[in-house]
């Protein structure tokens, strides 16, 4: 369960203060798929960064499994992210000069997984996104859709508890985008992990269990919560 309590995030100094997030609170049950919806600049990415402990809001708490992650030390929050969270970005951020295998290996290395236990995990993840035959290819040789599938493999390889996806289909055409969406939702259902998707695409949002609508840094409405 993720509890977000009274998050406020501002940018700028005194006379030119800009409130990016204003008193945001909601609760997400384990294994849910959540869409954070809103126009560009409404604060969706900022909210996602806050929930993952990358960003530090002025006030508020993010309680995951009873623990306020915003109160953790840098070392502890890094460890938390490497073991329990993963990310997919609009611009993929795969390492073009590295092989697909090495790209997927990175989160395991960061989490300190022993080399002997990596191979099977990496191959399973690449198989799940149907890129196992590209294992030894450099990531720059992949198409856009393949790059995002590689990013999905990298995101699922260490069996995260929460998967954040920031506009995962924003740079893809509808056909390749649908493939990536299917991968994410199947993974969410089969492994009962929490999937948090930032998007402004209503069709993608409607596939989620919960929709949180953001406008100008405030919650406009939350749909789907029982």
């Amino acid at each position: 369960m993720i509890e977000v309590k009274h998050i406020t995030k501002t940018y700028g100094k005194k006379d030119s203060v800009f409130v990016a997030l204003s008193d945001i609170s909601f609760v997400i049950p384990d294994g849910a798929s959540v869409a954070i919806l809103g126009k560009s600049g409404s604060g969706k990415s900022t909210l996602m960064h806050t929930m993952s402990g990358l960003d530090h809001p002025e006030t508020g708490e993010v309680i995951i499994d009873g623990q306020n992650i915003l109160a953790l030390s840098q070392k502890e929050i890094d460890k938390f992210r490497s073991h329990k969270m993963s990310f997919i970005f609009q611009s993929f951020f795969v390492q073009a000069k590295e092989t697909c295998y090495d790209n997927v290996s990175l989160p395991l290395e960061i989490a300190g997984v022993a080399p002997s236990r990596r191979r099977s995990k990496i191959e399973a993840a690449l198989t799940a996104v149907e890129l196992i035959d590209k294992k030894k290819s450099k990531a720059r040789t992949l198409s856009g859709g393949q790059k995002q599938r590689l990013a999905v493999a990298r995101a699922i390889v260490n069996s995260p508890q929460i998967l954040f996806a920031d506009e995962p289909t924003g740079n893809l055409d509808s056909v390749t985008g649908a493939v990536v969406e299917d991968l994410l939702f199947n993974y969410n259902k089969q492994n009962k992990i929490t999937l948090i998707v930032v998007t402004h695409d209503p069709d993608l949002a409607n596939r989620c269990d919960i929709q949180i609508h953001i406008k100008d840094g405030k919650i406009e409405s939350i749909e789907g919560l029982k």
Partner: protein, 426 residues
């Protein structure tokens, strides 16, 4: 993240920018090359010189000269003293040691023997074919190690003579071995006679050894050498009755085996003489080598200093180019410390690569050049370039440390990078 994984990733990102990595490490390589080669030349030079010193000198040997007047060539006339002096005119004089000085020195406990440097001017040397040749006559020194073509030092005390191989054929002998046991004559003029028509006496000696030029000899003996007792006879005939009788420019003191010759040297100096051990006399060569080596190492250090800026520059650019990669790694939970290590290890690889290339080229180049240099200098198969594995290793390790230190600032920049900023694309 494990250090091993970080090191592998560091190596991989360097391989992904081969040209840049190579060029950056080449600057370090120049420094490594220069430093390794100068250390090898210094080591070789010192070994060569200490071989020369141990072949030519005896650690128990002290050379004593009279203390010369400080004000020499004074405009004022000098007061008479009964010192033995050679007067060169214009107020320039050279003091000599007298028998009384020798007696004083030989009374010092720890002095085993004292041999004056007899100055004998021989007229000529002649042998089986009666041809006459000029020749230098010197006293055989106990500490001097000679290399013999034939024969040995044995028997030189009993009317024997040691002669350079240069005289074998000119005096009419087939070869060095042929000359051993043969009698030769040295002609000396009587100094006390009128210089216009002096009496000349032939001294006869039996050849006991024929020396050859030695690579280790600092002053190759190319004349003849006699035992001190024989030299004394020649000297007395040559200089007896002149003003230089019983006076010597210097004497060689040999100390007992169980005393430190430096202590005796100090005692003699305190008595008002100018004493130097054989090692003192040679030490200037070491100083020369050390200064030369220092200058070469200085050039190497300059190259290393330049490469420091190269590494800082390269690594800064690398951080800027890879902000997204760094941001991603931080988002995935990689610790600041590990990000810093990644960049420091990249710098370490650059240092290791450059250091190994430079040191490797220096070793290969030195080994190829070494025989040619030795041949050119005519020192046989003695190495003037000696690579010590320990010092080569220390140079490489030192350069790795320098590289890592240069990588600290860029690594800190990478570690401090804000992942949110780094991952922002719009």
């Amino acid at each position: 993240m494990k250090i091993r994984d970080i090191a592998i990733r560091a190596g991989r990102s360097l391989r992904q920018a081969k040209a840049r990595t190579l060029l950056t490490s080449l600057a370090i390589g120049v420094g490594a090359f220069t430093i390794v080669l100068s250390l090898a030349v210094g080591a070789g030079g010192r070994t060569y010189v200490s071989n020369i010193i141990s072949s030519n000198t005896n650690i128990h040997e002290i050379i004593v000269q009279p203390k010369q007047d400080k004000i020499n060539g004074a405009a004022k006339p000098q007061k008479y003293t009964d010192d033995a002096v050679i007067d060169y005119g214009a107020g320039y004089t050279m003091k000599l040691l007298k028998q009384s000085d020798l007696d004083k020195i030989s009374k010092i406990s720890g002095v085993k023997s004292i041999t004056p440097d007899y100055i004998v001017t021989a007229k000529y040397i002649t042998g089986i074919n009666n041809e006459k040749y000029r020749v230098g006559v010197t006293t055989i020194l106990e500490g001097l190690k000679l290399e013999f073509e034939a024969g040995s030092k044995d028997g030189v005390e009993n009317g024997g003579i040691i002669i350079s191989d240069r005289y074998v054929s000119v005096l009419g002998y087939k070869n060095a071995t042929d000359m051993i046991g043969k009698n030769i004559q040295i002609a000396v003029e009587k100094g006390s006679d009128s210089p216009l028509n002096p009496e000349t006496k032939l001294f006869e000696f039996k050849v006991v050894g024929v020396t050859k030029k030695s690579a280790m000899a600092i002053m190759p003996s190319n004349g003849v050498q006699l035992a001190p007792s024989e030299m004394e006879k020649l000297f007395n005939y040559n200089q007896g009755g002149t003003s230089l009788a019983n006076s010597y420019p210097d004497v060689v003191v040999i100390t007992d085996d169980n005393v430190n010759s430096k202590d005796i040297k100090n005692i003699i100096n305190d008595m008002g003489y100018d004493a130097q051990t054989a090692e003192d006399l040679m030490s200037f060569i070491f100083q020369f080598i050390n200064v030369l080596q220092g200058i070469l190492i200085g050039f190497g250090a300059l190259a290393v200093l330049t490469s420091v800026f190269g590494i800082i520059n390269t690594q800064y650019i690398s951080v800027l180019e890879r902000t997204q990669q760094i941001g991603l790694m931080k988002a995935l939970g990689m610790r600041r410390r590990d990000i810093g290590r990644l960049f420091k290890l990249e710098a370490a690889w650059i240092g290791l690569l450059g250091g190994s290339i430079g040191a490797g080229l220096a070793v290969i180049g030195g080994m190829i050049a070494n025989p040619h240099i030795s041949k050119w200098l005519g020192i046989g198969n003695i190495s003037l370039i000696i690579f010590e594995p320990l010092s080569v290793t220390i140079v490489i390790i030192g350069l790795v440390i320098v590289s890592v230190t240069s990588g600290i600032l860029p690594a800190r920049k990478a570690a401090k990078l804000d992942p949110i900023e780094a991952l922002r694309t719009e």
